[in-house]
Amino acid sequence: MGPVDYLLLLADLLVEICCVVCLLKKRAFSQHFTIVLYLCASIAIGIGRYGVIAAMGFSTDAYKYFYYYSDALLTICLYFILMNLYAHVFSEMGISKFVRGGAMLLLAGTAGISYYMVATSTDKLVTHFVYELSQNLYFVGVLLTYLLWGAMMKLRENRTRLMQLVLAMGVYFSAFAGSYALGNVYPNLEVWRYVCHLMVMWLPISWAYTFLKVPEDARMATARVLAPNR
């Protein structure tokens, strides 16, 4: 682990802290509590990762366990954000309870399938399970976000803030699912370590932009997002 890694780790933390400040400044805390929860968890985990690296070293098993399990935990926090976004989109239909139940079932199902996939393979390593779990969680995240985006298009959702939040989540989930899958195919690809750090910054940066620059009452025609030059 070189100075670039430390610098990127620090940059991730700073960006996340700035995003929390932006959210609090814009008084979006109560409406988007899950986003604040995710950011706080991510900041705490970032500090924890730094602590583990300082105490145990970067190439140790302890760090790998900590990294992958904390990543799975953060992905579950992202699920909560997604559930919250579903609740916002379907708020007028009154089906939030079903959405919550469905998402929880999906989460449990993904963990079960990941465990089964590893249990039936020849190397039953716990690290392999958590890697597989993270990849599958991100992929289910992609599918859920895609479903939500499709529903928003169908319902002609026009809240600009909501649209940008969902699209940013879609970019993040897709990028990580793809990167984990690529890591499965090419396990020794070093460059992804840096790419991952940069991708981590995407969500807080896009959220900070959305909350700072897009007013809550801003509206945009759905067709404009599909074809802006119309």
Binding site: W149, T160, A181, L182, Y209, A218, R224, L226, P228
Partner: protein, 136 residues
């Protein structure tokens, strides 16, 4: 096999989400009418802005002090513009309709850059007027 499948689907969805995200940024600027002064300074004569004006607008934006926080948007749209350039290079020659679509998208990016420049110019004029007011 599953990993390759996940990678393929994720790459496609990443592209779609990113393009839609950029569209939402572009669409936000579409409602903004460029001022006469902004048009004059940036050298835009017609109602629409051409894609090939994007680079020059970016240079002008770099010359203009930032009012605060719109740099991220410039970067996201620049990335999208670069991506469109790559798509044009790879597939533009196959079908003229693709080239037309790319050009209209690049025009949208250039319009966003023009709007940002216009806002920066307006902001700087206000700052200058305030400064002159306090000096007097």
């Amino acid at each position: 096999m599953i990993a390759i499948l996940i990678f393929g689907i994720s790459a496609l969805t990443l592209l779609q989400f990113f393009v839609s995200y950029c569209h939402s940024l572009i669409a936000e600027s579409r409602g903004y009418e460029l001022s006469e002064q902004g048009r004059e300074i940036s050298g835009i004569t017609s109602h629409s802005v051409r894609g090939d004006q994007f680079r020059r607008l970016l240079q002008l934006i770099a010359l203009c002090p930032e009012p605060g926080g719109d740099n991220r948007r410039v970067r996201a749209v620049s990335l999208y513009f670069g991506l469109l350039g790559l798509v044009r290079m790879l597939f533009g020659w196959i079908e003229p309709a693709v080239a037309r679509w790319i050009e209209s998208e690049r025009g949208g990016c250039a319009y966003v850059a023009a709007v940002m420049l216009d806002r920066r110019i307006a902001n700087n004029r206000v700052l200058m007027a305030q400064q002159m007011g306090t000096e007097l």
